[in-house]
Symmetry: C2
Subunit: 469 residues, 2 copies
């Protein structure tokens, strides 16, 4: 680690603020509003300043200044993350690229788009529609998350079962390194093996290796409106068997989500969804292919063969969106439930082999029973990406402890079943100790060596993903 | 770089050979046969020894020994590469993992297979058929190349237009690092963002970061037999326009290949394919979806709209394979032509934006005219991955120089058009100087830093991909 200079506000303005097209702020009230992402119960610190970059040059200037003075830098996009990855650390510069939100070029023939990092995912999707093109990755926070943050966390979402994760759409990125060096990584072409895959290395690096200032992304043709089906099952086991049997047919649903009985009840309590609360689980499936109607019927047949009580079809886009809306309301429904039950919610994000989903859900129930912590589960079932949500009373220390215990036991269970502690939400500072448990010693050493090589003074997002390796 | 000890043959046997389950050889005749891959005109050196590893322990033992003595190690699979990446360097240990060729586990429900690195790609494909599963990546050398080598080079092939490259199938790899440390990178689950994407970093690293000793790969359900169509065009331009128009429909062909007029003539000269030699180009398209028959008709309609002379359909698997056989025979046909015209052939591998293919082909013709070197072109047209082949007389120094000039001008053209010097064949020692031209200074510095971090004594495959950065 470098030595941190003492920098006073006058120096900051003279040496950094006055050089920026964007702005530099040291107002404590403003700093406070920028000091956290959307995660709960993650630690944060007190920043030195906030830079709102308006250009690549602003990012270069900020990194040069920070590097020269040994000041930590926390890159920020829309701060919609939920692992604490964008939280302030003491004495840091918060470097926000949210205002750098332009679409720089749409290449229709090669189906790529070049953007600045601050553009909101949904805004990009909307802008591409008029070109007949689509950018598939759709994190739950699609309406508020930025593309730069999506790349920095290799974001997932509900469409991954067909379209894969953000990494598969990143062709080329321009990054500013710790010392202010500007460099272009990856390639714009469909294929390319010239050198190490550094665009891939920086994707998902959570701000620890560099600041993403531009990206060229792969697009796909905008498909037809999707159609959906919702199947109810007597048990999670029957739902999970359906997932296995359906995926074994070679099906390519654009969404395949599971909700457990507890979540179904909470969703009904939030909105007028009319879901049957007597069931053990529901699966919601969507197809956006040209054979969508046949796809939903094929899904229904497999569900029925595997013991589904009932399958509801949506034969038009509007009804289809209503079926999926039940799933989209799960997180708001959880928050609604939490607010009525002590306010606390810890959302987990374990990805396991699909074949282990039934055992996982059984054992989460057992963890809930043994700890006394209420746990509800939804899943990107086609990917085995489980989102158990642990509820607790924030005013009750024992309840908080039980919830933390359950949360930890769920991650341990994920590892035991051959899975990972995070399928899509990232490590941040919430799971950095658990990352050290997941990786073997050789892998931890590689991480440390690579971080030292790319950011030798350790100023980029310290205390986060790589902290405990 | 480390200091290289002087190690005599007796020491080698005592300190290394005697510890191996596999074998250690210093016989110069055997070493000579293992000193090159399939590339032409690439430099090679004189190895110290060949280790044929039979186990992970053999690889660990070899790397520990080499690390302790500062001896370079060149990892080898099937040596089917064509960029010199597996060629010997002076005083090295050739570390062959070809005998480590077992399938360790097929996980049908999660659709993964775990293999040793030496297994031949086609043997893996055949073994998976009985499970109803497929491993899509299909380099031209599919019948002789190993999965470990495919991962080390991030191999491509003809199916990439639908299925992507090797990287998209690598879930988890076990590697032996330069000092003999064994570590597991990546994750077996569909999704996973715990830590940096080190499995991705090692994929395509061409033996410069570690030795791959095990891999867990994503599989897909075995699809129906594919159907094909072959369209003839008056010009490369018409063929390229067809590719653009067809891909814009959102089509997902499993193969979309172009051959130019020169190659068509050479293919006819090799075998009895009966291709119309008066045309300017052909496109061969294949679909392996359940709607294959409709797909070939949709392709034919687009081709006709874009000026195709004629479209031939194959309505069964056998006829379909015959159409594709013409494309598969391009490389043998080129070799046949080369042998009758001085024996020399340099195969290039430039990937460019699809939109630049017509200009690329025009300017390759101009390069051919200005240098006097004969150049024929085939392309993985759906990906913009161009394979110009430069022919020359190996006994005529002026002819060799013209060919090298043309080869270099083609790479420069690829870069000028926004492409890369290698879409799938890799850098090796054939293109390591060109890699330095493609990457900017920040990117080159990152490469150097990362290599130093992972292999601080520089023993892993020196003189290859990273040599000139």
């Amino acid at each position: 680690m470098s030595t941190v200079d003492t920098v006073d506000v006058a120096d900051l303005d003279a040496e950094l603020g006055s050089l920026l097209t964007g702005s530099l702020t040291t107002d404590p009230d403003i700093l406070a509003t920028f000091s956290r992402d959307e995660s709960l119960y993650s630690p944060d610190g007190t920043p030195l300043a906030l830079v709102r970059a308006h250009s690549v040059d602003d990012v270069v200037t900020t990194m040069r200044f920070a590097h020269a003075h040994g000041i930590p830098v926390v890159p920020q996009g829309a701060r919609s993350g939920i692992s604490g990855g964008a939280n302030a650390v003491d004495g840091c510069i918060l470097l926000s690229v949210k205002s750098m939100d332009r679409i720089l070029a749409v290449d229709e023939e090669n189906k790529t788009v070049t953007v600045e990092p601050g553009i909101i995912n949904l805004d990009l999707k909307k802008a591409l529609r008029s070109y007949g093109l689509a950018y598939p990755p759709d994190p739950g926070s699609v309406a508020m998350c930025s593309i730069g943050g999506n790349i920095a966390t290799n974001a997932g979402g509900m469409c991954c079962v067909k379209y894969g994760v953000t990494r598969e759409y990143v062709r080329e990125i321009t990054v500013v390194l710790a010392d202010g060096t500007l460099t272009r990584l990856g390639h714009r072409t469909v294929k390319g093996v010239a050198g190490l895959d550094l665009a891939g290395l920086f994707t998902g690096s959570e701000g620890t290796l560099g600041v993403i200032v531009e990206a060229t992304l792969k697009l796909v043709p905008l498909g037809p409106d999707p159609l959906s089906a919702l199947a109810t099952f007597p048990s999670v086991k029957a739902a999970v068997q359906t997932v296995a049997a359906y995926m074994a047919t070679g099906a390519t649903p654009s969404l395949l989500e599971m909700m457990d009985a507890k979540t179904i009840g909470m969703v009904n309590a939030l909105g007028d969804f009319g879901l049957d609360e007597s069931v053990g689980a529901v699966l919601i499936m969507q197809s956006d292919s040209t054979t969508a109607a046949a796809d939903t019927e094929a899904f229904a047949a497999v569900a029925t063969d595997n013991g589904a009580h009932d399958v509801a079809f949506a034969d038009n886009a509007q009804d289809s969106e209503m079926l999926v809306a039940a799933r989209r309301s799960a997180q708001p429904a959880w928050e609604h439930y939490a607010q009525a039950h002590g306010g606390g919610q810890l959302l987990d994000d374990v990805c396991i082999p699909r074949s282990a989903m039934a055992e996982f859900c059984d054992r989460v129930d057992a963890i809930s029973d043994s700890t006394g912590a209420m746990v509800a589960v939804i899943a990107h079932a086609g990917d085995g990406n489980m989102h158990p949500s642990v509820f607790f009373d924030t005013a009750d220390g024992a309840s908080v402890a039980r919830a933390q215990d359950a949360f930890d036991q769920i991650m341990a269970l994920g590892l035991e079943l051959g899975g990972t502690i995070t399928g899509e939400h990232g490590v941040g500072n919430l799971k950095s100790e658990w990352l050290a448990r997941e990786l073997d010693e050789g892998n931890r050493r590689l991480h440390r060596s690579l971080k030292d090589a790319v950011d030798p003074t350790g100023i980029l997002n310290p205390g986060k993903m790589l902290e405990h390796l």
